[in-house]
């Protein structure tokens, strides 16, 4: 698993960690049952406050992606496989959008609109 966080980036740090974990799931580097490092280990490695990492883990738990259990660490749930499967359909959609000259902002807007229906 590769995580990069940049305090200079406008996105909040906890968001960057959660994004990184999700990206790794989509890449296939993490799957159902994979164990994330402890929040303490992650905080030390990324030189972040423990609360920032805990907030990232809680975000992922709220999304149903992470199972947090005292003493058992942070395990990815079955939702990770689902996310990975859904992600496989994205390149096709993006390729079609690209071919049609639709940019990322317009495509995201379309997706958001579809969610709002």
């Amino acid at each position: 698993m590769l995580l990069v966080v940049d305090p200079g980036s406008p996105a909040p740090l906890f968001q960057q960690i959660a994004d990184g974990v999700r990206a790794e799931v989509i890449r296939g580097g993490l799957r159902e049952g994979s164990r994330l490092p402890s929040a303490k280990e992650l905080a030390e490695s990324l030189q972040l406050n423990l609360h920032t990492v805990l907030k990232a883990y809680q975000t992922l738990r709220d999304e149903g992606l992470l199972d947090l259990r005292r003493g058992r660490g942070a395990l990815l749930t079955a939702q990770a496989s689902v996310l990975g499967e859904v992600a496989q359909e994205v390149p096709l959609l993006v390729a079609r959008a690209k071919a049609a000259g639709i940019g990322p902002a317009a495509l995201s807007a379309l997706i958001k609109e579809e969610y709002a229906r």
């Binding site: 698993m1 590769l2 995580l3 966080v5 940049d6 990324l46």
Partner: protein, 327 residues
């Protein structure tokens, strides 16, 4: 397959398998030709004093000889067939050992039959010390010959893929983790072996009582070996850490000592003489399976090689961290 690789395989088959097998076969043919002149049961084991205390039908000698030599030759060829790169030390040792083993066993085993020719009672068989010593000496000579004839594995095509240094913003922080494991097959073989030895130790405890304790050493060692077949890897601003699941042993390269990183293709037996935590002069290897590996070079010239998936990205990150520390 390149011509070079084809030549390598041909020489490997000749020196690593055909030579030891030919020696064992010659000895076996001799032993089989003697079957009519040997007693129904021959001495195959001698007590410390030189008197025979183990007997078996004579065909067991060529049978065992061929089985052992064929098995060892097969291991030699299979484990070296995919070897690559100029690091041939271990390849040579294995090829030489195949011939040494074959010669020692052939001369020692078949030689032990010579004094039993036309013997009525195998209990008067002479101690085989002379053929065993002759065999060991001849074995050294033939082993040395095989050492020099051993083929040099050709370089693999993917030996040095270029590593792309991960570009990081000035303040960006990076962390990479992975779990490196041996193939489940290897782990299963070791676990089965360990369980079998443990059962043997327990059975022996019933027979021998407390005197059976040394038999528990082997299963304990295998359990420790098993624990070094899964490693957790971490790369961050502090450097590279690899630790086995038990937390020990642990290999670390602090960020300030890193010169750079590369991706290499590892053949466990040919490059490191086997699996697990391996030491060679100037090199440490956490070798869990063949294939891609992260090689971290230290500023003092030593290297640490860890077989892992995702080695390309890992090397890019190590490079970035080395760059930050002025390498």
């Amino acid at each position: 397959m390149t011509d070079e690789r084809r030549r390598y395989l041909r020489t490997l088959l000749l020196v690593g398998a055909a030579l030891p097998l030919a020696i064992a076969l010659a000895g076996s043919i001799l032993a089989i030709a003697w079957l009519g002149r040997l007693p129904a049961e021959v001495a195959i084991h001698w007590a410390a004093g030189g008197a025979p205390d183990g007997f078996a039908p004579p065909w067991i000698v060529p049978g065992m000889l061929l089985l052992i030599v064929a098995g060892f030759s097969a291991v030699t060829v299979v484990s070296l067939a995919a070897a690559h790169g100029p690091r041939v030390r271990n390849a040579r040792i294995l090829v030489a050992t195949a011939s040494w083993l074959s010669t020692t066993l052939t001369v020692g085993l078949v030689g032990s039959l010579v004094s039993q020719l036309d013997l009525a009672d195998p209990r008067s068989a002479q101690s085989p010390a002379a053929p065993l010593i002759t065999g060991a000496l001849l074995g050294l000579a033939v082993g040395a010959l095989a050492w020099f004839l051993a083929p040099v594995p050709p370089a693999g095509e993917s030996d040095t893929p270029t590593v792309e240094r991960l570009s990081l913003g000035e303040d960006a922080r990076v962390m990479w983790t992975a779990t490196a494991t041996a193939s489940p097959k290897l782990a299963a073989v070791i676990a089965l072996f360990g369980v079998a030895l443990l059962v043997q130790a327990i059975v022996l405890t019933f027979e021998l009582g407390a005197a059976a304790w040394p038999f528990y050493l082997a299963p304990v060692v295998l359990a420790l070996v098993l624990s070094t077949l899964t490693w957790r890897l971490r790369i961050d601003h502090r450097g590279v850490v690899a630790r086995s699941v038990l937390g020990f042993p642990r290999i670390t390269v602090p960020a300030g000592r890193i010169q750079g990183a590369s991706v290499v293709t590892v053949s466990p037996v040919a490059d490191f003489g086997g699996w697990g935590l391996r030491w060679l002069p100037g090199e440490v290897g956490v070798i869990l399976r063949g294939g891609e590996a992260l090689r971290v070079s230290r500023r003092d010239g030593h290297t640490v090689t860890i077989t892992t998936h995702d080695a390309g990205r890992a090397a890019g990150i190590v490079e970035a961290i080395a760059g930050r520390n002025g390498a």
